[in-house]
């Protein structure tokens, strides 16, 4: 599964880790994050993320 980077603040969403703050379990692909999920650092929406190179 691919990592995604927040274009605003540089936070990296790692599917292997998930996002505990938003109750996203480890193993959740970026594509499967709910539509209202936001960056835990800066609050930007999913549309601000790009796949990590």
């Amino acid at each position: 599964m691919k990592k995604y980077v927040c274009n605003v603040c540089g936070y990296v969403y790692d599917p292997a880790v998930g996002d505990a703050e938003s109750h996203i379990p480890a193993g959740t692909a970026f594509e499967d994050l709910p539509g209202d999920w936001v960056c835990p650092v800066c609050g930007a929406g999913k549309e601000e993320f790009s796949p990590e190179e």
Binding site: C9, V41, C42
Partner: protein
């Protein structure tokens, strides 16, 4: 020409050319009882460089300070470390006056500046770690995203070991003195803490990471020149240490009791809870919202272990001043707090319940149940408030004990 305002020498080749805002008392919701300064700095290198500018109404003051040492048209480069308008408000006019060869900002800064000012000239994006030659001197740029905006960056002047840190390590404090060693330590420590709590707290984990990065890079910092308040030349290490402490938000025995009251009942509950906290070994600080601002509350939260919030019910709703402070605190994302909700009500306990919900959303570790009293507390319910306070103090002692072992 004789200038009314003078530049202040910071190091051999760097001058402060900012402005002092003695009358500022309100900074987008942050109460600034001691005013502020907007710091801008001029580097007299082969390429004369201006680092940041000031809030729009202070442009003439800044230009006068620049003119006291050089003709503004001789400025070659302008660097914008942070796009917020207290540092860029007059940037378009200053670019117009100066006609610089190049203007630099971080990649996010280039975006933010264009979305603020819709400039018709190019701003050059610099990368994290990139160097810029000023002829006889060199600058290095460091991205510091989200400290406290996406565009934020630091600029380091290698030859003078000077770090231009924009808002980081700053404070709202208007003084005619420009350096830490000229200002009473109690005052700067309080104002630096208040600034951290109200501006940087949401990004505390990023502060920790940045400080680790800076220490790994092992470059020596003799002077820190922030965009507000004094320049650090004596207590550089002290302010770095304070930042690493604050960023961890370790729980202490301090319990902040924030409340408002309609007919004095929630206020009496707060006083009894305060006594209970003290009897249980905690150090309570009561903050009635008619006397304390939201930014005072944030300042006290930074070094606290507990947050207890009291609201009466007004028209089946939380009391507006309490909703205000909770909204503000939620955005600041304080961590490692235990807490509770209390309040008096007539027929609907909606006020207390909404406090409870807000604290849950803030991930405050709530102790027990919301403490509610109908209309006016009698001695029995005041006793209950005392023991509730004491039980929270017990929890705090456990937590602080665990931290130290």
């Amino acid at each position: 020409m004789q200038q009314p305002f003078k530049a202040v020498k910071v190091t051999d080749n760097v001058y402060w050319v900012g402005a002092i805002d003695w009358g500022l008392r309100y900074f987008h919701g942050y109460s600034t009882e001691r005013g502020s300064t907007y710091n801008a700095f001029l580097i007299l290198a082969d390429k004369i460089t201006l680092v940041d500018t000031v809030k729009a109404p202070f442009r003439a003051e800044m230009l006068s300070r620049i003119k006291s040492i050089t003709d503004p048209e001789k400025i070659d480069y302008i660097i914008s470390n942070h796009s917020e308008m207290d540092h860029t408000g007059c940037l378009p006019e200053v670019i117009e006056t100066v006609g610089p060869e190049r203007v630099f900002a971080s990649a996010m800064g280039v975006k933010a500046l264009s979305e603020h000012f819709h400039l018709d000239r190019e701003i050059v994006a610099v990368k994290d770690g990139e160097k810029l030659s000023l002829g006889n001197m060199v600058l290095t740029f460091f991205e510091t995203r989200m400290l406290h905006w996406p565009d934020s960056m630091f600029t380091y002047l290698v030859e003078e070991e000077l770090l231009f840190s924009q808002d980081a390590f700053g404070m709202h404090l208007a003084t005619s003195e420009r350096f830490d060693d000229e200002i009473d330590r109690g005052i700067w420590e309080y104002e630096a803490r208040k600034y951290f709590a109200n501006i940087l707290l949401p990004y505390a984990p990023q502060v920790t990471k940045l400080l680790e990065k800076l220490s790994k890079l092992r470059f020596s910092i003799k002077t820190i020149a922030p965009d507000h308040g004094p320049v650090w030349r004596r207590d550089v290490n002290k302010v770095l240490d304070l930042y690493s402490e604050w960023a961890l938000q370790r729980p202490t025995k301090k319990a902040v009791v924030v409340y408002d009251t309609m007919w004095g009942s929630t206020g009496r509950m707060a006083a009894a809870i305060g006594d209970g906290l003290k009897q249980g070994g905690a150090s309570p600080k009561l903050m009635p919202l008619r006397s304390c601002t939201r930014s005072d509350v944030a300042t006290e939260i930074l070094e606290a272990g507990a947050l207890l919030v009291g609201s009466p019910t007004l028209n089946n709703n939380i009391f507006p001043t309490v909703a205000d402070v909770l909204t503000y605190l939620k955005g600041l994302k304080p961590r490692n707090l235990i807490g509770g909700a209390f309040g008096s009500y007539g027929w609907s306990p909606a006020g207390v319940e909404q406090v409870w919900e807000a604290l849950t959303e803030m991930k405050v570790d709530l102790v027990g149940e919301p403490l509610k009293v109908k209309y006016v507390p009698d001695s029995g319910s005041l006793e209950q408030c005392v023991s509730w306070g004491a039980s929270i103090a017990e929890r705090l002692k456990e937590l602080c004990g665990r931290e130290t072992t």
